[in-house]
């Protein structure tokens, strides 16, 4: 794999993960457990889709086949999507919504933190802006995990269930593949060992504070999103998200 190929892949992973998690949060519009949460969820979603746009724009320039950011977001089918499986998991209850957010936010935070020092200046710039947003996302989702874990008996049970359900998708966040390694070696992407270590450290710390039990480190992990092999959920997400672009392919302006 050349460095340029790896970079395109890597940018699509960043973009698609943001996009799909943002879309999942959009599904919650009007359905959050409190008005303050409506605002916060939409705010997080807005940040994520905004970041996705920045990554797509850069990716589109490198791919350079006439597709722009919108075409990348709205015209690729599931097997071409590179998002982490975690981000496409359904909202289920608010413990799952927040658990998904938390596991992703920890990964996202350390990734972006490292990317602010990327040898690729464009990436460093996008990451610097995104890091500010994601620092807030992480603070928020950690707080909710702690509230649920150390709240009522019911919230503890639900949050522990959420951790158990989502754990099998955490491996993909911190298990590097060739693309990750090429990016790390080029000084573009994060050091993969460090990322895994940081992720584990913070997740364990927060879960412990929340009186929750993490899954086993050697638990079976479900992976595949990074190379386009997704769970059955993604197809349905895209069918909805891409409908207008697909149904009106001749429309150039919206």
């Amino acid at each position: 794999m050349t460095q340029t190929e790896a970079l395109k892949e890597y940018l699509l992973r960043l973009a698609d993960s943001d996009m799909i998690l943002g879309q999942r949060l959009c599904e919650l519009c009007g359905k959050a457990p409190a008005l303050e949460e409506e605002m916060a969820l939409m705010n997080v979603a807005l940040d994520l889709v905004g970041q996705a746009r920045n990554w797509y724009e850069y990716a589109a320039e490198l791919i350079d086949d006439g597709r722009d950011a919108d075409k990348l977001a709205f015209r690729r089918d599931a097997h071409e999507y590179r998002n982490l499986l975690m981000t496409e998991q359904p909202n289920e209850d608010y413990a799952v919504t927040m658990g998904r957010q938390f596991f992703f936010d920890v990964y996202h935070y350390f990734t972006l933190k490292s990317l602010t020092e990327s040898s690729d200046e464009r990436i460093a710039g996008i990451a610097a802006k995104a890091l500010k947003e994601v620092t807030y996302h992480l603070r928020r989702s950690s707080e909710w995990v702690k509230r649920f874990g150390d709240g009522t008996e019911e919230s503890h049970r639900r949050m522990q269930d959420a951790v158990d359900i989502l754990w099998r998708f955490t491996g993909e966040l911190i298990t590097p593949d060739d693309t990750d390694r090429v990016m790390a070696e080029a000084g573009i992407g994060p050091d993969t060992d460090q990322l895994a270590k940081d992720w584990r450290g913070m997740v364990n710390e927060v879960l412990t504070q929340a009186t929750l039990t993490p899954g086993a480190e050697d638990a079976w992990m479900y992976m595949g999103g990074k190379h386009g092999e997704h769970t059955e959920h993604l197809g349905f997400i895209l069918a909805e998200m891409q409908f207008l672009q697909r149904a009106y392919p001749d429309a150039t302006t919206w």
Binding site: Q23, C26, E27, C29, G30, K31, A32, P33, A34, L35, E36, E37, E38, M39, M42, N43, A45, L46, V49, G50, A52, R53, Y56, A69, D70, A73, F74, D93, Y94, K146, R147, F148, D150, G151, T152, E154, S155, R158, E240, M241, F243, L244, Q245, Y248, D250, A251, T252, T253, W254
Partner: protein, 312 residues
């Protein structure tokens, strides 16, 4: 009139804002609570017809705009409930009334959003009608409400321009299908937007007292006419038509004449017989009911944290 009442009315007449700590007639307080809570409910329920398209927005730019708008609306709701609470009302109680069908919200949100152009038309027509109301309410006599209106109006104007731009772009650069979406959206939302100003003045029994208290500052019919007069030129600029054969410029009055509203439909929707009344309330009620454990957890955790802080 008691001395307090006289004092109160003099303040109102002198355009001095009434503040939470001031004495106020019980009727004034109740009317305000009802009106501000309705307004807050409308912001919250109003997120739903937009939420219906936020997962299907056609471009990144439009998706981001719509998300930002929805976020603003949640913010407006919070801000208005706060203003309402300065009058001694309880947010949860008022929301409970909404879910039981006892409190109103703007009827326009009981209409479905059926194509993407509705996201433009809602911004242009619905936010547009809301602004006509709210611009006047910036001068309403109750201080916290007036200040809320000033803040909200600014954002709503932005939404309205954005909505209009969606339609304008589709009309100017869109395909025939997209243009048809725009006209279809206007056809469906035009009359409901006019209904937003409420019944004719002579059918609006509480209006006079509200005018005297300067809670209301213009009559329903006056506001509706203002809206029509500012909107029709924009409609023409779009190159679209209104579904009203009687709509035309009246040289004599300097206003647009327009056809009679279907008041039967207005009262039907008000009574709960609108296309989406059931769905809107059900969605909101489910959200709050199913979120009970979340709010309880937050309270329990905060309580534990407090105890730990005290113990330390």
């Amino acid at each position: 009139m008691s001395p307090e009442e006289r004092d109160f009315q003099e303040k109102v007449d002198a355009e001095t804002k009434i503040e939470p700590k001031n004495w106020m007639p019980e009727g004034y307080r109740k009317t305000l609570i009802r009106q501000i809570s309705q307004h807050a409910h409308s912001e919250v329920v109003g997120m739903l017809p937009e939420g219906n398209w936020v997962t299907r927005a056609p471009t990144l730019k439009r998706k981001l705009q719509l998300m930002a708008k929805i976020q603003d609306e949640a913010g407006h709701g919070l801000y208005l409930y706060s203003a309402m609470e300065t009058l001694g009302a309880d947010r949860d109680e008022e929301i409970e009334k909404l879910h039981q069908g006892k409190a109103k919200y703007s009827s326009i949100f009981n209409y479905p959003t059926l194509n993407w152009a509705d996201m433009g038309a809602v911004g242009w027509l619905v936010d547009g009608a809301a602004i006509v109301n709210q611009v006047v309410l910036q001068r309403t006599s109750y201080g916290p409400y007036s200040r809320a209106m000033i803040r909200i109006c600014k954002e709503e104007s932005f939404h309205q321009r954005q909505g209009y731009q969606i339609l304008l772009d589709m009309m100017r650069e869109g395909t025939e299908e997209q243009k048809a979406m725009v006209q279809d959206a206007i056809n469906r939302l035009w009359w409901p937007a006019l209904m937003m100003f409420g019944p004719h003045d002579d059918e609006s029994p509480n209006s006079q007292q509200s005018m005297a208290w300067k809670i209301k500052r213009k009559s329903n019919d006056e506001l509706r006419q203002m809206f029509i007069d500012q909107t029709v030129p924009q409609l023409e600029f779009l190159g679209c038509t209104a579904p009203d054969p009687d709509l035309k410029w009246n040289e004599e009055t300097g206003h647009y004449d327009f056809g009679e509203i279907n008041w039967q439909e207005f009262y039907d929707v008000l009574k709960g017989n609108g296309p989406c009344n059931r769905e809107r309330i059900k969605t909101r009620k489910n959200a709050i009911d199913e979120g009970a454990w979340v709010r309880e957890a937050a309270v329990a955790y905060a309580e534990k944290q407090k105890q730990r802080a005290q113990a330390a």
